[in-house]
């Protein structure tokens, strides 16, 4: 039988099982006696083993088999599902993922399971209790393998002392079920979905991502052409043409929405990584915390989703490493010993809000200001006019960090400046709220879809440029006398904040505007974590633009995010304002 025809199906289904295993393991650490989850884990390993055996992938079989055996010990021999078990299962899932990647790339297996299977077989709980020793014969036979056992149980783990565990163990023993008769009363949502999908297998197809990009491209071109037709219809004054164009517009709108939907992926697609990393971070820093995820079902463009992983990982890392206090400190402050880190996703029309919050020590604006002055990032004069919100945003300045020490956990990866920059690149924005002593909240607002954006088109000297509305906090028509001079800089008052004024003309190398009417048009945007007002000659209105990425060498020009064609055929540059300043 030619098995190569089943390879892709094998890979996609095996990865689904791995994802279920990852999510279920992390979930079980929260509620270790969840019988349905324990069953699901066993089945996941069992199915992986069977599938891999059919494909003759011996290494995968070996790893999956040892995971299945470990889960049998949990199901039937009263082995507590504690951190050591979770670690081994996650390690196994990673091993299999690596092996699958080799299979996918048609490489000779580069990784070997090594002694993984032996370590699982030899696994003993850190504080083996007499009852579990008497209950399980397998442990007795594996105790001889001293070194492996020490390896498996070397990690100290707080959650192994959770009271729920001993209850869980007791209930397993009381049930005394054999493998075949074990009923699984509840079904996890993931499984319910899987069942539905499997039943209607012909209703989904896989398509290449380039095809999706091509579809979006064509739709964008059609929309640009629609604007041309609209202009022609207006010039000709033909009611018939206008009606046909308006009907076409509606159809195009519908087409655009459908194409965008095809590109949407649920946030869930990247969630298991976060669960894994938060778990690992909490463990490494020895902090006791609960991680909550909300809004997994919210859809985002796949391109945006990919770009969100790193910034979110960084925010979560900060929350665990800096935001969260150790339990002793929390108790002393009158809080619960266990901290809460939350990642929630909500949708607000065509924008998605992603919030990383914690109930940790929070950030003190005054401490932020002092640190920024000490590091010569701002002058004491500038500090005076900062609002608390602006002070918190100082953390987004390059070179700013309030970490008292560079730990293994926080010392790596991107800083807040990089987080902010990558969010702005997506046409999004970052806001920080914090209350010293009660916690912090970082909110990322990103567009749900890319490619077609709403932009504010402005005139600067002889050129028209477009600024994505996501980068525009608001537009202001300022009376000339409302501008004040502080030091050498021009500022104006907005919501009790002194916001610096800059000329977009000057930045673009155009002659400065004159404003004979005494009204200065400007838009407020954010750069390096602070609000600035950018003065332009004239607002030309909001347009729906189809963004074309620029090829080299134009893509190397600073501050340019892409190009687009206006309805009349005129080409405008789309600015990446944050990059420009």
């Amino acid at each position: 039988m030619d098995m190569s025809q089943y390879r892709n199906l094998f890979l996609s289904e095996a990865r689904e099982y791995l994802k279920t295993i990852n999510v279920t393991v992390v979930g079980l650490e929260e509620s270790p006696s969840d019988r349905a989850a324990i069953d699901a884990l066993f089945r996941g390993a069992h199915s992986l083993k069977g599938m891999a055996a059919s494909m003759d992938y011996g290494d995968v079989v070996e790893v999956a088999h040892s995971m299945e055996d470990l889960m049998i010990r949990v199901r039937e021999d009263g082995l507590a599902f504690e951190a050591g078990v979770a670690d081994l299962l996650l390690e196994g899932a990673d091993l299999i993922e690596g092996l699958l990647n080799d299979v996918e790339q048609e490489l000779e297996p580069r990784r070997s399971p090594g002694d993984f299977a032996r370590r699982l077989a030899a696994y003993m709980p850190p504080q083996a209790q007499p009852e579990s020793q008497s209950a399980g014969e397998p442990q007795a036979s594996t105790q001889a393998q001293g070194p492996a056992q020490a390896q498996g149980s070397s990690q100290p783990q707080a959650s192994s002392q959770t009271p729920g565990l001993s209850q869980a163990r007791a209930s397993f023993q009381a049930q005394g079920l054999s493998q075949a008769q074990a009923p699984s009363q509840a079904q996890s949502p993931a499984e319910a979905d899987k069942g539905k999908e499997a039943a209607g297998e012909v209703s989904t197809v896989r398509v290449r991502t380039e095809l999706l990009d091509h579809l979006i491209n064509l739709t964008g071109e059609l929309i640009t052409n629609k604007h041309r037709l609209l202009n022609i219809g207006r010039d000709l004054g033909s009611a018939q043409l206008n009606e046909a164009v308006s009907e076409t517009s509606k159809l195009l709108r519908a087409l655009h929405d459908e194409v965008m939907k095809v590109r949407l992926m649920p946030f869930d697609a990247i969630c298991d990584r976060f669960q894994r990393s938060v778990r690992a971070l909490a463990k490494r820093s020895g902090k006791d915390l609960h991680f909550e995820l909300q809004g997994r079902e919210i859809g985002l463009d796949r391109g945006i989703l990919e770009q969100l992983t790193d910034p979110l990982n960084h925010l979560l890392r900060n929350a665990v490493d800096h935001g969260m206090e150790p339990s002793t400190e929390r108790i002393a402050a009158g809080k619960s010993a266990r901290g809460l880190v939350k990642l929630s996703v909500t949708r607000d029309r065509d924008r998605v809000h992603i919030t990383v919050s914690d109930d940790g020590r929070g950030m003190d604006p005054q401490v932020m200001i002092a640190a920024a002055i000490r590091k010569k990032l701002i002058t004491p004069e500038e500090a005076v006019v900062l609002s608390p919100r602006q002070a918190l945003m100082l953390s987004c300045l390059p070179g700013f960090s309030t970490a008292k020490e560079v730990t293994d956990v926080s010392g790596r990866g991107v800083g807040m400046d990089a987080v902010n920059a990558s969010i702005q690149k997506l046409g999004g924005s970052l806001t920080i709220d914090s209350e010293p002593g009660t916690g912090s909240r970082f909110t990322l607002m990103v567009p749900m879809t890319i490619a077609i954006i709403h932009a504010l088109v402005v005139q600067c000297g002889k050129v028209k440029v477009a600024v994505p509305v996501t980068a525009v906090h608001r537009t202001v028509e300022l009376r000339r006398e409302q501008a004040e001079t502080v030091g050498k800089r021009q500022v104006f008052q907005l919501d009790d904040e002194a916001v610096p004024l800059l000329s977009l003309n000057r930045i673009l190398g155009m002659p400065l505007g004159r404003f004979p009417s005494g009204i200065v048009p400007l838009f407020v945007t954010e750069a390096k974590g602070r609000r600035v007002g950018l003065v332009v000659d004239r607002f030309l209105g909001q347009h729906e633009l189809f963004v074309k990425p620029l090829g080299r060498p134009l893509s190397k020009v600073r501050g340019v995010a892409g190009g687009a064609t206006l309805g009349d055929g005129e080409i405008v540059t789309i600015l990446d304002v944050a990059d420009l300043l």
């Binding site: 069953d39 699901a40 089945r43 083993k49 059919s54 075949a180 069942g195």
Partner: protein
Amino acid sequence: MSTTVMIVDDSLFMRKMLRDILEEEEYEVVAEASDGVEAVDKYKEFRPDLTTLDIVMPNKTGIEALQEIMAFDPAARIVMCSAIGQESLTTAAHEAGAKAFILKPFNPELVARVLKEAAES
């Protein structure tokens, strides 16, 4: 008229493989089910000549589904699919009325032979 079969397995990969083997042998696969509950429901709906039933499945295990199907139709011809290492379960399945066993990973010739015997029994 060709023999009708229902395939029950929680893995799409396994169902596809088994379907290909069976269709090669000119069986008519009339239904697929991905868990024990669906298996019982679809058995009642399709009344296949033969059913292949995986053991480890969500919602209802293969053994539970077997018992329910046999209670509904004592003449049901059911072949259990199990992995190596589950031999202990064969007794329970035999007692519940399973006609035969096929082992995973599937060997196409062996599967064909076992199913033929089960269909003719």
